[in-house]
Amino acid sequence: MRGEAEQWTGAERLMATLYLTEEQTTVKIEGEALRLQMPRGQERQVVRVPLAKVDQVVVLGNITLTTPALQALLERGIAVHYLSARGRSYGSLVADWGKNSGPRLALYALYTDLPRRFAAARQCVAGKLINMRAVLLRYARNREDNAALLEAVQQIRAALRALARAQPPAQLATDDRMGGLGELFGIEGSASAAYYGVLGLLLKPPWQFVGRVRRPPTDPVNALLSFGYSLLTNQTTALIQAVGLDPGVGLLHQPGFGKPALALDIMEAFRPIIVDSVVITMINTGQLTPGDLEEELGAFRLRDRARRTFLEKFEERLNERIRHPVFGYQISYRRCIELQVRLLAKYAQGEIPRYVPFTVR
């Protein structure tokens, strides 16, 4: 097998996300650099960022990129993602896909092959459950009053046993709106309920969390989780597009208008270990305080300063290097996500017999 860290360093040095968060900023191209002009009165009114250091751009809020700047970015295959200040995705500007149609067709074929699709979808769910269990166990070890956590771990374990037994229907009913994957959704739902039911116990008071609420998140912790999941969705979508696959057609998630179903499939396993762990750590180390979120008619959003800190911590986590559980070499979480995309494409093309989820111990 490949040796230690050196292998991917060349590819990963370029992996950097430029987050544009300052309202009213104008971004132009100047030689081989982006020139960021901040609104008047800002401390550093002009910042230059070399294009060679940017792998993708995330635009949060009212910020203007000129057409020459966008062209220069697209020419270099750098995607530009537009998000609302809350982290909701408006969409992305991506360079042309090239002629990599083979893997895309293989994935579409996999979508219509229920037994193989079911097998891969089950692995996506398994990755999520195994990693949720790992997060809970990690915290349960360090505390006395861990009965509720261990109870949730047991429930997730039971869900994993049910998952191992789950079989696709022999015949797909014409009115099956779950595409034959209903059992997987049921198992995933019960395990997630057990996990989110105890997640609040991991947070230092006065923070509270009673369960997952989306659209809109009606408490600060849910708002943080939603923001983090949005960022992760964008990262994963960008990686899928870089690999040349269609992010809109997933295996577990049903395709739907504007839904990056494949990104949601791939990121299931990464939600607990990337987003949840960043949120928990920031809260427990005091990097976030309840005052960092403001309420708007019952919905919560991060204030600017806290949002910047959150982006920094999220990026740090993605760039954190770990030992890959299957291949044994040191790589970043970001490259782990990309590997999962590539492995799924190889499973679709019949190169490997099984899609193996990314799991931690």
Partner: protein
């Protein structure tokens, strides 16, 4: 029946290096940069400007478009040189004379194209290696010609099939290949042996 698409000459080089690289590059249109690729592109920047230079007896034509109807090939010669009646291709490569025959195959295929266009026989050509700063003369022997024709046939067969061949056994080539991060030869080999992967279904849950 599909019309046979011509194979770019540079892709023959890729095929001689590794069939899997050929399908990634030629069929799937994949391309990644590493230091070898970037260095090669920089060194080529001066050569890729077309034009003709007369130096006494010697005529040099740069970036000459060539093709072969018979073999289904198309591409460019970096340089076609004419000297005292002899005409031959010269290919520019970064690095040193190589252990592998891919550069020779690419050059010989250029000669086959020129022969078909001009109705002549070209006995030899040359490769200029930047790192060694010298030309290596390559004889277009009957053996090399036969190998190149077999390579062209393999290229058309692979392009038609479109499937990825398995990773090659000579992994030393993988270490220098820019496509390794997406080809994942070791990872595919490991995961292809299903029993080698820890399965969560069978573990103590």
């Amino acid at each position: 029946m599909h019309a046979r698409e011509p194979i770019p000459l540079a892709m023959l080089n890729a095929l001689a290096y590794c069939p899997r690289r050929f399908v990634y590059e030629h069929v799937q249109g994949e391309m990644l940069l590493n230091e070898h690729v970037v260095e090669g592109a920089l060194l080529h920047a001066g050569i890729d400007l077309g034009g003709t230079v007369w130096e006494g007896e010697r005529v040099q034509q740069r970036r000459v478009y060539v093709w072969s109807e018979r073999l289904g090939l198309v591409g460019f010669c970096d340089l076609v040189e004419t000297q005292t009646g002899a005409i031959y291709p010269v290919e520019y490569k970064k690095g040193r004379p190589r252990r592998w025959f891919n550069d020779h195959a690419q050059l010989c295929a250029q000669a086959l194209c020129l022969e078909e266009r001009l109705g002549i026989t070209i006995p030899r050509g040359a490769i200029f290696y930047f790192a060694a700063r010298r030309r290596e003369v390559v004889e277009f022997t009957a053996t090399l010609r036969a190998e190149v024709e077999a390579l062209v046939a393999q290229a058309h067969a692979l392009a038609l099939a479109g499937r990825l061949p398995p990773p090659i056994e000579q992994r030393a080539r993988c270490r220098e290949c820019s496509l390794e991060p997406l080809c994942l030869p070791d990872e595919v080999e490991q995961l292809a042996q299903e029993h080698a992967i820890p399965a969560w279904e069978e573990s103590e849950l």
